[in-house]
Point group: C2
Chain length 309, copies 2
């Protein structure tokens, strides 16, 4: 009885005692996938059978030799690296971009508060008139104090007259902020492009931000496609869900989906229902996207909008 | 007996029952500081004396009338606004700029980590070779993957080949980061300019970052100038100090001063001593600066450097 065995090193023929009778070593990993060498040995040793699992130890003791061991290690590394290289998908790109958008939101908020405080030394009244950070910065970079006082009918200011270079420094911060806001918009456009190609149904029904967040929270389209709709409904509400399980507080009705316009526009007592229906349809969308199905999201959207208006 | 009284409304003459005999109302706040009207009334009513404090209530009941009350309110507001307007000093500007530098440090760190992760999808090996975020970004913006692999002798990469627009998006983040680093440098230059004028001694001995931080922690030059040297030594170590007081753990030897090159370079067992001497001299520096004294910091610096080398 002879045994045939193939791994990433090559194809081997062993006798019953585990002694190596013959072998074809691969020079390249390609040969491993082609499986030719095993066929060759099979022809040469007609009686041979595949090494049964309970006898693997015979082979393992053979490759403990240093030359095999080294090669084994290297080949395995190469395989892993190749797999890694191939593993980067649109999921990763989307996750990174949406995560960075979250980061940018935090950052612009932080810097905007600092900006308001700093600029407040010069012209505190304007900060009270314009609530949006982005708008405030836009106005300040476009017009000077006098023009702004006129436009917003501010008669008097408590702010002190700063030196030109002091004001310049604050404006540098404003310019920086403006660029950060711009980068956020760019990310959003980029996400739209990627998602249009990768998951058009999800994009259409969930919108770009919520769609990308769902992919991030659901750890990729594939995983999202196998999640039940009820889980999708609660993605992003993990904290409230576990509190519910632990303390028996009321169960959450929506996670990230709360931000969706459909849920927002629904009557208060219908929001839970809207979130559930939305999650149902989203679950269909991600499956369509994952299996490269039709573009049905517009129909779903219409259906939902009619139901909850 | 007649009483004379002046406040921001005007100058008044009251009789003993608190009835108003005569008054000169100010039309402008300037007249209040000039004190002319009181002199006029004094000449007219030779016998009059300033209203004693225990009789203020006589006057107060008079100005409860609506027309006085309104005017009083308005004038007080104007005074406060003027005071506020005049209260913005270099202290405020320095505090805002150094606080923003701290903010930028946090932000660049956050975004750099995100950048490393994102770019790692494309070329993970380069991140391990270059530890400094700033350097990494510089290299990546200047050279492409192939050039970098050559320069850092990286033979193989696990990173996947991203599409052009995917890579572009990551590079936008890198450019943004570079500008944030630039803004930080700009702030530092700005601080140097302001501090050279405002507190040259402190700047010379403490350096720009530590000097500005001391002004921030000490709540301005004036307050810093009245602090004992031992407090200056521990600015920035409040947490450890209160822990020491509460739990009896070892007392801190330095706060922000730990970052000073003099303390850094000193032998380990001499660091506490170095911090104490440095705080002594810094205390002298801030007093010199506050009272617009001589520029003695270079001498102090030399003295300290000789002692702790």
């Amino acid at each position: 009885m002879k045994f045939l065995f193939t791994n990433i090193l090559g194809s081997f023929v062993l006798d019953e005692q585990g002694k190596m009778m013959d072998s074809i070593l691969f020079t390249d990993l390609k040969e491993f996938t082609e499986k030719k060498s095993e066929d060759l040995l099979q022809k040469k040793y007609k009686q041979s059978i595949p090494l049964p699992q309970e006898k693997y130890h015979l082979f393992l003791s053979l490759v403990k030799e240093k030359k095999y061991y080294e090669l084994f290690h290297q080949r395995n590394l190469r395989i892993t690296k190749k797999a890694l290289k191939a593993s980067v998908s649109d999921d990763n790109l989307i996750t990174q971009a949406i995560a960075n958008m979250g980061e940018l939101d935090k950052i612009t908020n932080l810097l905007s508060k600092r900006f308001r405080e700093w600029y407040g030394l010069y012209f505190p009244e304007i900060g009270e008139k314009i609530a949006s950070h982005e708008k405030l910065i836009e106005f300040i970079l476009k017009k000077n104090k006098k023009e702004l006082m006129q436009q917003f009918s501010i008669k008097e200011t408590m702010g002190s007259d700063l030196g030109k270079e002091d004001l310049e420094e604050i404006k540098l911060l404003a310019i920086q902020l403006q660029q950060l806001y711009l980068l956020r918009t760019r990310h959003e456009e980029y996400l739209t492009t990627v998602m249009k190609r990768y998951c058009p149904n999800l994009l259409e029904l969930a919108g770009v931000t919520i769609g990308a967040k769902l992919l991030e929270l659901g750890k990729g389209l594939k995983h999202l496609a196998v999640l039940p709709a009820s889980t999708i409904q609660l993605l992003g509400a993990e904290k409230a869900l576990f509190r519910h399980i632990k303390t028996g507080s009321r169960s959450p009705k929506y996670g990230i989906l709360f931000q969706h316009s459909l849920v927002q526009k629904a009557k208060k007592q219908e929001r839970g229902k809207a979130a559930r229906s939305l999650a149902d349809k989203l679950s269909l969308c991600v499956r369509l996207d994952y299996f490269k199905g039709e573009f049905k999201a517009p129909n779903y959207k219409k259906e939902l909008e009619e139901r909850f208006r």
